[in-house]
Symmetry: C2
Subunit: 224 residues, 2 copies
DNA sequence: AGCCCTTTGTGAACCGATGCACAAAGTCAG
DNA sequence: CTGACTTTGTGCATCGGTTCACAAAGGGCT
């Protein structure tokens, strides 16, 4: 391996979004004791086509062996490192309604280098409760908690009306990565990354396609 | 406008994915009594740029007025119709853990033409409970419930290990739209639409970018 | 009615992502 | 050591989506 790989710079966004998928498939294989996997098989397990998978992996470097495939363990490590999962990320969840609880208990985080380091809520009724082994703290303590625990990623699982205000507060104390479940467009400085998950949007997209299948208003004959 | 609009056929997937966003912004405006909105303002409210918004809307038809903008009510109706939200969709949620409960209680569904028509779970402990006004039914009743309630969209909020089996069963009784929260790639006939939401994937993508900002392993100097 | 101003709708250039198809690189058997 | 076989990594064509920039369309003022 030469000293100047084109490795790091400019991994396409579309590729980044798929790496976690590959990682998941690889973890499954590692557990089942698979040592080596071809692009064909891994692609199938991840639900993509093999050319795409190979191109994606080629952006990280040349980690396969022609004629053989990829070493599962090694690839897990490389992808993890690329995604930054070899370090430990402290996550704070703001809002411990049903969604916040679901997230706090979600095993998929811990196993990927994410550590739920704090739970925060505004409701005095739940402040002080223990959820998933963590004490729920009051929203007034938000800034202090983030600093004290070294939180770098904040998850917003709160009502839309409160989201922008909380967002502003966490940005003000230096958080630059936010996962937003509230159905609002957050306005943030461009140095801050916001990813959003809107549960109802996914359903609406399904409804659109379902309507087509069922024969929409004009019952378009679908050639496909 | 002639009798053959290019309206229905071939709305780009990327556009479909944004329509719910516009719809949300428009609902907010309607509530605040705004009668008319320009592409510039609506785009800002939805968090996209105005050229994209205009092109998206142009795929549905010519619903704006030059020099004025779009009538909010009318546009709400047109987008709703296009997405199929003018009809009532019966949704079944399988799995009433924290996530399932969060979904069952989520107000964003009801207000968009979705009706949670059934809750199903395998745990005898929760079967029979009432959640969000609905009786939780046993997974053995899955097929019967789907038929009886006319369910056309199924949400899977169950552990990964159970997902494929439940998926096969709902597909077998004719469901063709599935929203999957389990971290597995479901295999389905190509007539079935599956959308997936993986909470940990979003965090991993954030971690990737966060790592860059913080200065990754090689502290690449980002020109941007 | 005529003119000016605003804003839409869209042609065209651009950009990134996808998929094909194959040469390069490696393994393994004999 | 050689040759057949497998599978990666990638150049290239293609496609879908984004953005620019402007002509066309309408409103409203005088």
């Amino acid at each position: 391996m030469s000293s100047s790989q084109p490795r790091d710079r400019g991994i396409p966004e579309a590729t980044v979004a798929r790496l976690p998928l590959y990682l998941r498939a690889l973890h499954g294989m590692a557990e089942r004791g698979v040592a080596t996997v071809s692009s064909e098989d891994l692609a199938a397990a991840a639900g993509v086509n093999s050319a795409k998978l190979r191109k994606d992996l080629s952006h990280l470097g040349s980690y396969g062996t022609r004629g053989v495939g990829y070493d599962v363990e090694y690839l897990v490590y490389q992808i993890s490192r690329e995604l930054g999962l070899t370090q430990d990320w402290a996550v704070a969840i703001v809002g411990v309604g049903n969604l916040g609880r679901a997230l706090a208990n979600y095993g998929g985080f811990v196993s990927r280098g994410f550590r739920v380091a704090a739970l925060v809520d505004a409701d005095p009724e739940v402040v002080g409760d223990t959820i998933a082994g963590l004490n729920v703290e009051h929203i007034d303590e938000l800034e202090a908690v983030i600093k004290r625990r070294g939180v770098s990623i904040v998850v917003l699982a709160i009502p839309a009306a409160a989201a922008q205000e909380v967002c502003d507060r966490v940005v003000a104390v230096g958080v630059t990565s936010i996962l937003n479940f509230a159905p609002v467009v957050l306005s943030v400085p461009e140095t801050v990354d916001v990813r959003k998950v809107d549960l109802s949007i996914e359903l609406q997209i399904l409804a659109f396609h379902e309507q087509r299948k069922a024969g929409g208003p004009l019952m378009a004959v679908d050639s496909q």
